[in-house]
């Protein structure tokens, strides 16, 4: 008798907790998804529905004109290609250089490697704003320690090209690269030493061991860093607006979308309907994050089921 009562109390408690948990998770998921749902609903609305008090979520007049406007003004396909090329290049280079550095710090200890790793942590801590101006001036008159003027007679201006991104990611100093080095180091430290030693005994050099043994084992860490670096580069407006002033990439196109739209409408920008501008801008944001969501759908399972192997914790 007492056992069944205890059982029922326990099961009541469990039932109550799963109910609370369901409510909590459903509510918070709604909070997260709300802006996206709202953008979708805004994007398919007609201009007239915007002021209609009866329309909240589902529009009366479906239209694709917002999409067409946004695609035309943002020069979407060209922008998409540019952004993809930029993000993919920096991602591949950053992942490669950070993996090298991470492995160096984790397994190939040398005098002063501790100190240098402290410097990696320092690069995470210093806000990029602090070093932005000297980097900007440096890239504007890029000399490569005086080598380029010797060859061509004058320095080169690297601004408005992809070179700043390529150079910084090649040298593992791009956006948040310190974090990726940290992740790789933690991950490589977690791989048993025996694996590496077996490779050495079988006659593999350090390079072969790294490319043939360590990298295939580090796939979770590679996925984490490539996803982070791709997404953050895609959304980044801080470096992009500084280095690339006239090239068409997603983040610059997005922030100048309302202005370009009002120019296209032909009237005085200050007279254009602000709600309509905002509507097209929301559509633009939706278009900009769409590729990211598609990518996320493919890689999310790595995050969802095997996070302990992503190397964040080590």
């Amino acid at each position: 008798m007492s056992v069944s009562r205890w059982l029922s109390l326990e099961s009541w408690k469990r039932w109550l907790w799963s109910f609370i948990r369901l409510t909590l998770i459903a509510g918070l998921s709604f909070v997260i998804l709300y802006p996206i749902l709202q953008k979708i609903s805004t994007a398919i609305k007609d201009k007239a529905d915007l002021y209609s008090p009866v329309v909240v979520w589902i529009p009366e007049n479906f239209t694709m004109s917002n999409f067409l406007d946004a695609i035309r003004i943002m020069d979407y396909w060209e922008t998409l290609f540019n952004t993809f090329a930029l993000s993919a290049t920096t991602t591949v280079l950053t992942a490669a250089s950070c993996a090298l550095a991470g492995y160096g710090f984790a397994r190939l200890k040398f005098k002063g490697s501790q100190l240098l790793f402290a410097c990696v942590v320092l690069t995470i801590l210093v806000p990029p704003t602090t070093i932005l101006i000297p980097i900007y001036l440096n890239l504007k008159d890029f000399t490569l320690m005086g080598l380029i003027p010797l060859l061509t007679g004058k320095s080169v201006n690297l601004l408005n090209s992809y070179w700043p991104f390529i150079l910084t990611s090649l040298t593992a100093n791009s956006l948040k690269a310190g974090l990726y080095i940290f992740i790789f180091r933690q991950f490589f430290r977690g791989i048993p030493k025996e694996v590496e030693e077996a490779a050495y005994i079988d006659g593999a050099g350090v390079g072969t061991t790294f490319t043939r043994i360590m990298m295939p084992n580090a796939i979770p860490a590679i996925i984490t860093t490539t996803l982070f670096s791709f997404v953050w580069q895609w959304n980044d407006s801080f470096y992009t607006t500084t280095y690339l002033t006239s090239s068409k990439v997603m983040s610059t196109q997005l922030s100048s979308l309302p202005y370009n739209l009002s120019i296209m409408l032909g009237s005085d920008p200050s007279k254009a309907d602000p709600f309509y501008l905002s509507m097209v801008q929301d559509t633009g944001i939706l278009l900009a994050i769409l590729p990211l969501i598609v990518i996320y759908l493919f890689v999310q399972r790595y995050f969802v089921e095997s996070i302990e192997r992503t190397g964040i914790v080590g």
């Binding site: 369901l22 909590l24 998770i25 918070l28 998921s29 997260i32 998804l33 802006p35 709202q38 805004t42 909240v56 250089s97 090298l100 492995y103 160096g104 710090f105 200890k109 040398f110 005098k111 240098l116 990696v120 806000p127 704003t129 602090t130 070093i131 932005l132 101006i133 000297p134 980097i135 900007y136 001036l137 440096n138 008159d141 150079l167 040298t171 593992a172 100093n173 350090v206 982070f228 997404v231 953050w232 959304n235 980044d236 407006s237 801080f238 500084t242 983040s251 922030s255 709600f275 501008l277 905002s278 509507m279 944001i285 994050i289 969501i293 999310q300 995050f303 969802v304 964040i312 914790v313």
Partner: protein, 305 residues
Amino acid sequence: MKSITQRFGRKQRSYGKQKALWGIAYVMPWLLGFIFFFLIPLLTSLIYSFSTVTANSEGIGITFMGMKNYVTAFTVNTSFNRMLTEAIVNMAVNVPLIVIFSLFLAVVLNQKFLGRSFARSIFFLPVILASGVILTLESSSLVQAINDQNAGSGGLINALGSFELERLMLQAGVSETIVNYLTGAVDRIYEIVSQSGVQILIFLAGIQTISPQLYEASKMEGATGYEAFWKITFPMVSPLILVNMIYTIIDSFSRNELTDLIKTTGFVQFDFGLSSAMAWIYFLAISIILLISTYFVSRKVFYHE
């Protein structure tokens, strides 16, 4: 015999040396970048902050000015003081909330329930969406504002909810500051959720590395879930609380108005000296906050070893 050991010893040493050489080679790309894209700019920026920088066609002229730029930043510039304090206060309010919230959610998302992987993929979505330009633009969306107005009833319920909560807690005798803090957190739930994606990820990864034997043993001894959380989960993830706190502080500082102000001063008004001085004050403020909070938290952290 001696020669063999000698040779052996030399060979061992050279193997170690060889590895060290490889280590230097592997770290080299980063080291070059660190020197050219970090260390030199950092020092240059320090020099700029103490001088007036004039850029013309011949190049850059630097005149040493002493502390003038720092004085200007604090006394002449109209918004620097306000933005710096705002950024610090915002951070002090948000960081504890984000860390506690993400720990709680990580514990919940670690339990087994129907649709867990679906819930997890939604909760990690902010890692992708709430960064950079999208976040900036989202806050200025007019359609969102007008929709909230149109859906007046929804907004009303929302306000009523936290209002009820406030009344309830005040009647229960909770101090007014705490009540305001908590209801403020409820009202800013989107802001908090959208900033805790990476933190949830880190905590979840940490919780999954705790060996299940610990929980089994505690269950055998009759510990409740609540006790298991405070005696096992919490101490085991406490190093990650420190990590997450640092990450949240850095992250909260990378997305505020102050960054824009520093950038405008540098690239619109072309006052490189003043901009560098502001950036350095900003950096020092962050370092002080990080040092203080790390000092206090790291004393409580439990390390397994």
